[in-house]
């Protein structure tokens, strides 16, 4: 048990160099009874997406806007890349920080190219470099430069505008990006696509990103680290998505995650991370009697027919074979459905297998070769493992810390 604990805790991603450090940051709006942000201390590691999530009015936006001083803090310090910027020239500061807001705020009287060129111009780049940068960024956000360069924002769809908003925020190649509900005003399907695109982009550019949302699912999907905030921007828990789902620090976090934490957790692990089940397989062209032998030797009731390239071709059962004794194997039984690749999340696999024949998903590699099967049992097993790991990790604090937190006290 202790051994498992130590491996589990070291497996949790170790934070890198701190990029943004908020020290006792506070914001008291005039004439408000309570501060909107109350003495917040938070370290944001370089190259990670840190999500600020919490109920409406808890101070997420205020916190984020203090980082680029759109809102001036009333107390505390902001350290950016080792430098205290609490009193720095805000315009200079902002040119180094990409900024994306929910309403996007493209300049309607400027073309897409002019919109993207805003910060590079402020930074004094020469025209050639700016032009090249515009094209590069449009390509990065999957918009053909020739088509979109000279359009005006009103000639774009909502999703395209959001992409341009991201491109514009990246234009000065800032190390840090602030994003306030960037996908909040977009329909769910487009949002999903933009989120995936953004994650792919982030894997390349590795910016330090502070991302505000009130949607816990988005937080889990997008975040390397999540800060769950309570009223006054007080941190209820600041941890990786895995930890937050498996070991909520207190009732507030548990409530905020809501029911179905186990199901949400399925978004975090991938098919390649779990033990696949092995079902009986046979080669295309095998003698029916041999197939029956294979079926008899297994308790599954079905065998998967593979072709020469080991690609799944057919599901066959004993009754199928007996009914059509003389037909080739790939013309009896059922076509294979629910085929997933190893990088699919367990959630994807679960969605697939629920509607598929025999309630299984077939795992194939990138060239389509059969790897194994995900069935309900493998998913339940994965959930069980995650839970054990989480409990083990949660106990680490108990062994190391003298300060026993509330949750643990209740547990005794």
């Amino acid at each position: 048990m202790t051994e498992q604990t130590s491996t589990a805790s070291s497996a949790a991603t170790a934070p890198g160099r701190t990029m943004i450090k908020l020290e006792g940051l506070g914001k008291q709006y005039p004439k408000e009874p309570k501060p909107a942000v109350d003495n917040l201390t938070l370290e944001i590691p370089e190259g990670e997406i840190v999500i600020l999530v919490g109920p409406s009015g808890c101070g997420k936006t205020t916190t984020m806007k203090m980082i680029n001083r759109i809102i001036e803090p009333t107390s505390g310090r902001i350290i950016l890349d080792g430098e205290d910027v609490t009193k720095a020239d805000p315009d200079q500061l902002r040119r180094k920080i990409g900024y994306v807001i929910q309403q996007i705020g493209l300049f309607p009287h400027m073309t897409i190219a002019q919109n993207i060129a805003t910060v590079p111009k402020l930074l004094g780049w020469d025209a050639k470099k700016i032009d090249a940068r515009i094209d590069e960024l449009l390509q990065t956000v999957s918009m053909a430069p020739e088509t979109y360069r000279n359009r005006y924002p009103k000639q774009l769809s909502g999703g395209q505008r959001q992409r341009v908003g991201v491109a514009r925020a990246l234009s000065g190649d800032p190390a840090v990006m602030l994003m306030d509900e960037p996908f909040g005003a977009i329909d769910p399907i487009t949002r999903d696509r933009l989120q995936n695109e953004f994650l792919r982009l982030q894997a390349e550019v590795r910016k330090t990103i502070v991302f505000v949302t009130h949607d816990i699912d988005e937080a889990i999907k997008m975040g390397d680290r999540i800060a769950i905030l309570q009223e006054g921007s007080r941190i209820a828990q600041y941890d990786t998505p895995e930890q937050i789902l498996t070991a909520p620090a207190n009732d507030f976090v548990a409530d905020f995650i809501g029911r179905g934490a186990s199901l949400k957790r399925l978004n975090l692990s991938r098919v390649r991370d779990i033990q696949l089940s092995q079902w009986p397989t046979v080669q295309l062209g095998e003698q029916p009697s041999r197939v029956l032998d294979v079926l008899r030797a297994s308790d599954k009731g079905f065998a998967l027919v593979l072709d020469e390239q080991r690609k799944p071709r057919r599901w066959v059962s004993a009754p199928d074979l007996q009914r059509d004794e003389n037909r080739p194997l790939d013309q009896i039984g059922l076509a294979p459905e629910a085929i997933v690749e190893p990088q699919a999340t367990l959630n994807d696999a679960l969605n697939e297998l629920i509607t598929a024949n025999y309630s299984v998903a077939i795992v194939v590699n990138a060239s389509g070769e059969y790897q194994g099967i995900v069935d309900i049992d493998s998913i339940t097993e994965a959930i069980r493992t995650m839970r054990t790991d989480a409990r083990a990790r949660a106990r680490v604090g108990l062994d190391e810390d003298d300060t026993v937190d509330e949750a643990a006290q209740v547990g005794r």
């Binding site: 500061l93 902002r94 040119r95 807001i101 009103k154």
Partner: protein
Amino acid sequence: MTSSAAPGAPDLAAAPQAPIAPVRRERRSVGSYVFMPIFLALVCAGLYLYVSNQELDTIEQRALNAGNITAALLEHLRLTAISTVLVILIAIPLGVLLTRPFTGSYRGVLLTLANIGQAVPTIGLLALMGVGALSFIDIDIGVTAAIIALVAYAVLPVLRNTMVGLQQVDESILEAGRGMGIGKFGVLSRIELPLSVPIILAGVRTALVINVGTATLAAYINAGGLGRIIVAGLSTNRITVQITGALLTAVLALLIDYLAGIAEDVLRPKGL
């Protein structure tokens, strides 16, 4: 805080209610570009035919010869142009100032002052008359007085439209601008003003039309203009002269409105 006259225009604090010069959203058709000049040319031609078919007595001849009409027209245009330029120079910067956060407390007072010029036109007229009495000594005093009255009268639409124009700019666009590190002045000159151009121009156009019309009254204080012809017609009881003066004023007003409309179309930023 009362809701202001224009929908979506927040916080025209304590502004007296007066209509805001409307902005036409859609571009006009080719037909509407061509119609107005043709119509005005026809009116002028008709007027010319009518006048040249009349038996004119010496008084009428003196009032309606080409030299006199041209001079009156030029005086009129000068009054209009100078007063409109002054209106723009006063009202737009004032409108900018009054929409900055630090002028919040003066906003109501200044708008009320500006409103007096238009809402109580007789005051403007009285001032015009009073100072105008002096103008028989020196014609320049008359012109100056007329211009002051015209400016007082036409400042409000431009001021109001400038303020509404600046205030209707979407807050999120400004925030995006500031968030990228464009300075305060840059945000004003590169974002706020361009985005307010259509509404400000609509105000300028209204001011122009007001000035063309009101400049007719300048004749009463010996400051010239097309009003001179109408006044001459009235005082000598010559109906032809009256009609000519009135029609020319109307044609000029329509023509200037037409040209201002084209300017609005041309100057409106693309992409809006």
